[in-house]
């Protein structure tokens, strides 16, 4: 089993690297060759399968449920982002976003290796903990993808405002497609984030978390929720779309990533 997990991890790293390179080349090359369009998603799909194999294999070795350990949770959130990307890529015309999702998944897959794989301690109800972590993982995956779409929106918008219309602009997704994708992903992730915040508050109460890092993490969690809520509400009420929505989303994603980093720092320290 150890061999399978190790081989899957190594091949997963290679496949994510290949996929990222292919997506990047497609953006960077002056001429778009059809082959790249086909191979990038395939390589990413293979990487996702290897990634999942690694997570399952490694969790069996350590006898820890994948969602009960921060190491696997970090890895899984990136895997979810990849799976959602592959699922909505054609529908939302997000193909080029693969150039961000690939490296992101690679970073999370490799970065998770430096985090303690043991089970997270909790005194709360087990089932609620599982739901709490699962909701957070899927939510984080969706927000990562929304953040990538938002980043691409800002790049494309800037290029169009500056009248840089050739080359890269032709290969980036249309502005409205990016804006729509970002909005839908936020809409999908927001209920999960809400559940994660509420259930997280329950666990925080039971654990009596009061350290500086814990408080910062909780504050950032609430800030994320508020930011995403503000982006969604202002969009509906005041027509905040495009650039403002993209910046709001990116700010929310930055908070989410910081929260995860704080978890990682704590787990690293514990380990």
């Amino acid at each position: 089993m150890t061999d399978i997990a190790t081989v899957a991890f190594t091949l997963g790293v290679v496949a994510y690297s290949v996929a990222s390179t292919l997506f990047f080349l497609e953006l960077a090359r002056p001429d778009a060759q059809l082959g790249f369009r086909r191979w990038g998603p395939w390589a990413m799909g293979v990487a996702a399968v290897l990634h999942a194999t690694h997570v399952v294999g490694a969790s069996l070795i350590t006898r820890v449920c994948p969602i009960a350990s921060l190491q696997f949770a970090l890895s899984l959130s990136a895997l979810i982002a990849v799976v959602v990307f592959l699922a909505v890529r054609t529908r939302f015309r997000l193909h080029a976003v693969g150039a961000v999702v690939g490296p992101l998944a690679l970073t999370f897959l490799v970065g998770a290796q430096f985090v303690d794989a043991s089970r997270a301690e909790s005194s709360g109800p087990r089932t609620l903990l599982m739901f709490h972590i699962t909701a957070n993982l899927v939510g984080v995956g969706l927000f990562l993808l929304a953040g990538a779409a938002g980043a691409f929106y800002l790049v494309q918008e800037r290029r169009l405002k500056e009248k840089k219309t050739g080359g890269l602009s032709n290969k980036l997704p249309p502005l409205d497609a990016l804006d729509r994708a970002e909005h839908r992903l936020l809409l999908a992730g927001f209920p999960l984030l809400t559940f994660g915040i509420v259930s997280g508050a329950v666990f925080a109460g039971r654990l009596g978390a009061s350290g500086g890092t814990e408080l910062l993490r909780a504050a950032l969690g609430y800030a994320t929720w508020l930011l995403v809520a503000a982006v969604l509400v202002m969009r509906a009420a005041a027509g905040w779309r495009g650039r403002r929505a993209a910046w709001g989303t990116l700010a929310g994603v930055a908070c989410v990533v910081t929260v995860m980093l704080l978890y990682a720092v704590r787990a690293g320290g514990a380990g």
Binding site: K161, R235, G239
Partner: protein, 456 residues
């Protein structure tokens, strides 16, 4: 091999080109007439706004290409004698290369324009329907289409737009993606504005025409198949708009910052693409500071066009290399194909000898063989024939391809084969051998070995 005789935008002005531009329904008849000429066996007419070219092939496989081209030129001159001095002629390999360049849009007025590929396919279909396509065109035109597809997929020759209206549509797609269901507002008139609006409408957008003159608005909205709005409804049109094209002769700004900023809430923050084709400008430049508003004026659009053209010129070098590679490949293949008739005759000759001997044996000493053994025997002889001819066939083709044989050399080769094997007398194969028994015995021995039986 083929020849091409014709004229294009480089060799003849439009007044001359239009003299020999035939309507589609007359092309089939014209092709039939050309193909009926003494030297021409195959014909295809490429007729576009920028070129009229008659692609022909000789009646015989190794026919006179120069005479064929002369026939084709004569046919064009008969339609309009004044075209004669504008005609160019390509023969053989040059004609093939020219056809590949035309298909790849390297010879077009607008480098890399995609229409030529469809026009070439249509010309080929028309020629096929007129039954003026034979072996030569059947092997050359599809190769030209293949080359063009390779150029399009492996270079950026067709990337970017090269006219203001098409750039406008391209930019609208970069902002909105699909244009179906989007609303385009046309303010004022002008050829470029109307063309842009029509292109956007063809992409699925809804059109609204706004103007101060109600009668003019009515005429224009009918012309572009849009909806007419009076000037008082400008704000309403702007609220609905995704794309606005302005081309009025107003001395001041028609769409200003205050107007758009005021409409922002009603527009719910949707993106707005403003195309200002007017001089003096219709749209206040400051509107660009608004979120989701993208303003392009004539200078901006012209800059995009010139960048695309420059980029295409760079890509043309890569495209030329592909065309050259394909043309050389075609030449090698065509050279090898020159010996095909000789190979076919040789195979027929050998096959006839083998069949005759087999039949004689099966009627004589091997008549006791059952159907399975007979089938095995036939299979064995076919296999022997293939093995026997494999090496000479391959060598013939390779010699022809490597040494670029001309028609005379091919003829010499065929004559040599004829001398050695009496290639053109297949009917005598069975009767000619005086020692039929010897052949019989050899065949029977082979049969015994193949079927494992003893003769009785």
């Amino acid at each position: 091999m083929i020849t091409i005789v014709g004229l294009n935008h480089k060799t003849a002005p439009i007044a001359v080109r239009e003299r020999i531009a035939l309507p589609k329904d007359q092309i089939a008849r014209a092709l039939t007439q050309v193909a009926a000429r003494s030297h021409v066996g195959e014909a295809m007419l490429i007729s576009t706004c920028n070129r009229v070219e008659l692609v022909t092939a000789p009646r015989a496989a190794h026919g006179d290409l120069v005479a064929t081209a002369e026939d084709a030129a004569d046919a064009l001159a008969q339609i309009a004698p004044e075209v004669e001095r504008h005609l160019y002629v390509y023969i053989g390999a040059d004609a093939v290369k020219h056809l590949f360049r035309v298909a790849s849009s390297l010879d077009s007025l607008v480098l890399g324009e995609p229409q030529i590929l469809g026009q070439l396919k249509e010309a080929f279909d028309l020629a096929r329907k007129a039954k003026t396509v034979g072996r030569a065109l059947h092997r050359t035109v599809p190769r030209a289409l293949h080359t063009a597809k390779r150029v399009r997929s492996q270079t950026a020759l067709g990337a970017g737009q090269v006219s203001v209206p098409s750039v406008s549509v391209d930019l609208a797609k970069q902002i909105f993606g699909e244009l179906a269901g989007r609303t385009v507002v046309l303010i004022g008139s002008g050829e470029m504005a109307e063309t842009s609006a029509k292109l956007l409408r063809n992409a699925g957008a809804r059109l609204i025409v706004v103007g101060r003159n109600a009668a003019r608005v009515s005429v224009l909205s009918r012309a572009v198949e849009g909806e007419g709005f009076t000037w008082e409804r400008l704000a309403e049109a702007l609220v609905a708009a995704d794309v606005v094209i302005t081309s009025t002769s107003a001395p001041g700004f028609v769409v200003d910052h205050a107007l758009l900023a005021g409409l922002r809430r009603r527009r719910k923050g949707r993106s707005l693409f403003l195309i200002d084709l007017a001089v003096p400008r219709d749209v206040e430049p400051r509107v660009e500071s608004l979120d989701g508003v993208f303003l392009y004026n004539v200078d901006d659009l012209s800059k995009v066009v010139s960048e695309s053209l420059a980029s295409r010129a760079r890509e043309a070098e890569r495209a030329e290399a592909i065309v050259l590679e394909e043309a050389l490949g075609w030449e090698r293949w065509a050279d090898a194909e020159q010996v095909t008739p000789a190979v076919v005759m040789l195979r027929e000759r050998f096959s006839a000898v083998f069949r005759a001997e087999l039949e004689r044996s099966l009627r004589g000493r091997l008549k006791h063989l059952g159907s399975e053994e007979r089938a095995a025997l036939e299979l064995m002889l076919d296999s022997a024939l293939n093995k026997l001819l494999h090496s000479p066939t391959r060598r013939l083709r390779s010699v022809a391809a490597e040494h670029r044989l001309d028609a005379d050399r091919v003829e010499q080769l065929v004559l040599s084969l004829d001398e050695l094997f009496a290639v053109d007398e297949p009917g005598d194969a069975a009767a000619e051998d005086g020692d039929g028994d010897t052949v019989d015995s050899a065949t029977e021995d082979a049969a015994r070995r193949a079927t494992g039986t003893e003769s009785r």
